[in-house]
């Protein structure tokens, strides 16, 4: 790995990193700057990069520490670049998107919602047999008819509990999204999971959000809720595919850049 740099967070250049902040392998976390952006990074000499609990908690601890010092974006675990110059090139390449995300998300927090239900076992209050398969077109008692009747009953049963899931999830989400500046949820990410949601709120709004959450929980005693956070806004950063405006629009191609990028007079004039 040599002098590879492991990146934890992106922050504004005016923010000062906390002193004596240690990253993976006990290496000091330093700021790698590119204009008014900076990356919190540390050297990862020979430490194998594994998603152990120690590494994951250290990554999260560094992100949290940087965010206590000022607005910052969390970087995905495992972001290892070839050196300080590669970190600067990455900041340059994604400059516009990172700057926009930092302004939109830097000082906000994310709350995570998971709702468990008993789904098809009881949530819809019916079995496959209850769903019925009465259809005038399915006459007779032969094996083919029995098979089609069973498939029809199964289809109706699934449609019934999925419809119930949709109604429940929408009700929960609508009660909470008004407390958030941005939100999204996934319906039935797994059969036991009714929904998983993420809600972006101002730190000062966390209390009000939790009050709204408690009201939702009390109204749905048959469901099991987990509200986690506040987290750094991992779920709201712009995905790579959606970065419509990157610094390619602003800066010359990074392919021709030197290992450690210095702004040219032409770039400075932009």
């Amino acid at each position: 790995m040599g002098s590879a740099y492991y990146v934890y967070a992106i922050f504004g250049g005016e923010t000062q990193l906390p002193p004596a902040l240690l990253g993976l392998g006990g290496a000091p976390v330093t700021a790698v700057e590119w204009y008014d952006l900076a990356a919190a990074a540390s050297c990862l000499e020979d430490t194998p990069l594994r998603p152990t609990s120690e590494h994951i908690l250290r990554h999260e601890a560094v992100v949290e520490a940087v965010r206590r010092a000022g607005p910052a974006l969390p970087v995905r675990f495992g972001t290892l670049l070839a050196g300080q110059g590669a970190v600067q090139r990455a900041l340059k390449e994604h400059y516009a998107s990172l700057l926009a995300d930092l302004a939109r998300l830097g000082d906000k927090v994310e709350l995570g919602l998971t709702v468990l239900w008993n789904g098809a076992e009881g949530g819809a209050g019916a079995t496959i047999e209850d769903a019925g398969a009465h259809d005038s077109r399915l006459v007779g008692t032969g094996p083919g008819t029995r098979y089609l009747r069973a498939r029809l009953a199964e289809h109706r049963w699934i449609a019934r509990w999925q419809s119930r899931a949709q109604t429940l999830a929408q009700g929960i989400h609508e009660a909470l999204q008004c407390r958030a500046s941005e939100s999204h949820y996934t319906l039935l990410p797994a059969p036991r999971l009714l929904l998983r949601g993420a809600y972006l709120v101002q730190p000062a709004g966390v209390g009000a959000f939790r009050e709204a959450f408690e009201a939702v929980r009390r109204a749905q005693p048959e469901l099991r809720f987990l509200l986690s956070g506040p987290w750094p806004p991992y779920s709201f950063v712009t995905p790579p595919g959606d970065r419509s405006a990157t610094c390619r629009d602003i800066w010359p191609s990074t392919r021709d850049s030197a290992a450690i990028i210095q702004p040219t007079s032409e770039e400075e004039s932009l």
Partner: protein, 73 residues
């Protein structure tokens, strides 16, 4: 019997894992992460290492194709 604190710690770890492995700022880079001495390789931005939730979604989708969604665990 496991303590509530141990269960809370596991839940916290799962919530962290779900976020930091699958979300957050993606910077360019070819990465290799090893689990139990087996390299799980990131090729460009195509992430092979997945969160529990994504893996569960994929498993469920495959189950749905195989069983028309009627059978699940």
């Amino acid at each position: 019997m496991r303590s509530a604190a141990a269960e809370a710690k596991d839940v916290t770890m799962l919530e962290i894992l779900d976020r930091i492995l699958d979300r957050g700022v993606v910077l360019a880079g070819d990465l290799t992460i090893s689990v139990a001495d087996v390299d799980l390789i990131f090729i460009g931005l195509k992430v092979l290492l997945s969160s529990v939730e994504r893996a569960e979604r994929m498993r469920w989708a495959l189950d749905g194709q195989a069983h028309s969604g009627a059978s699940y665990g």
